[in-house]
């Protein structure tokens, strides 16, 4: 398994910590952002520096956040060709089918509804090919 630099984007520090614990146990390094704007600013800084090797390969994205929400973040990332390799997974309380369809249509690759167990996150990362089958934390 190749560790993936992962962005955890959620306005709740507790939720960022819960997600960080799960992916850190997979050996993934984590950067945290409290909202979509903070995450986009972080990505812009890396792109300006020209060091694409520091771009996260995965982002776990909450939906309801101040300043820039998760759907806006997904749309912004998908609009930037330089970020085309970033895998986007929504992790949110928005559980209506219409919202899931909306997020996937905007460019999210996967969708996890809160509350979740660590296994739910691992299962989705396995589906995305980021974690081998049979891994548990």
């Amino acid at each position: 398994m190749t560790p993936v630099l992962t962005m955890v984007i959620d306005d709740s520090r507790a939720m960022r910590l819960i997600l960080k614990r799960i992916v850190a146990q997979l050996g993934f390094d984590v950067v945290e952002s409290a909202n979509g704007k903070e995450a986009m600013d972080y990505l812009a800084g890396i792109l300006e520096a020209g060091d694409d090797s520091k771009l996260p390969g995965l982002a776990l994205v909450d939906w309801n956040m101040p300043e820039m929400n998760g759907l806006e973040f997904v749309t912004a990332v998908r609009a930037d060709q330089r970020l085309r390799n970033m895998t986007l997974m929504m992790v949110t309380t928005e559980s209506e089918q219409s919202q899931i369809v909306r997020a996937l249509a905007s460019g999210a690759h996967e969708y996890v509804i809160k509350p979740f167990t660590p296994d739910a996150i691992i299962d989705k990362l396995t589906l995305l090919g980021l974690v081998p089958n049979g891994v548990a934390v």
Partner: protein, 159 residues
């Protein structure tokens, strides 16, 4: 879906939240108690707007709010700060509110969470209680309630 959420809906949602974050090993469940035995010192809330208007509240005694923060943040109880409590109660309200929203008519939108420390009494005068779950967790009070905004309030807000 047009029916209002029920106490049983709140129980199912709360059990999912507790088993995911606050009682992972199943040894510290949220237990139902009579309303008279509930104490609320801190409340996390989210508002729902759209086809249905109202609020979802998670009320805790001071002890329960600190237990929740310690569990969610993975820290010792004596390390918990007021900011930790606000973050934890806000996220619990967000998660429970989001799941309640899925039971309501579409389209609805969820606000960002708000946490206040003086209890819930009188904060939502233009609302009626739809359902409420009263519980005890680690011998501390927890309530989850759904309030629907009255028609008068909705009309007043629109003008």
């Amino acid at each position: 879906m047009t029916a209002n959420p029920t106490e049983n809906d709140l129980r199912v949602i709360a059990e999912q939240v507790w088993s995911s974050y606050l009682d992972v090993d199943g040894s510290k469940p949220l237990l139902p108690v009579p309303a008279a035995k509930v104490v609320v010192d801190v409340t996390g809330s989210v508002s729902v707007t759209g086809a249905w208007r109202g609020h979802v509240l998670v009320g805790c005694s001071d002890g329960a709010s600190r237990n929740a923060a310690a569990a969610l943040l993975g820290i010792e109880l004596d390390e918990v700060t007021d900011d930790d409590v606000a973050d934890a109660l806000g996220e619990l309200a967000n998660i429970i509110g989001g799941n309640v929203k899925s039971l309501l008519p579409e389209p609805c939108a969820l606000s960002l969470p708000h946490v206040h420390v003086e209890g819930e009494a009188g904060r939502y005068p233009a609302s009626t209680e739809v359902c409420k779950l009263n519980g005890t967790w680690l011998e501390e009070s927890v309530t989850v309630s759904v309030l629907e905004s009255t028609a008068d309030f909705a009309e007043a807000s629109a003008t």
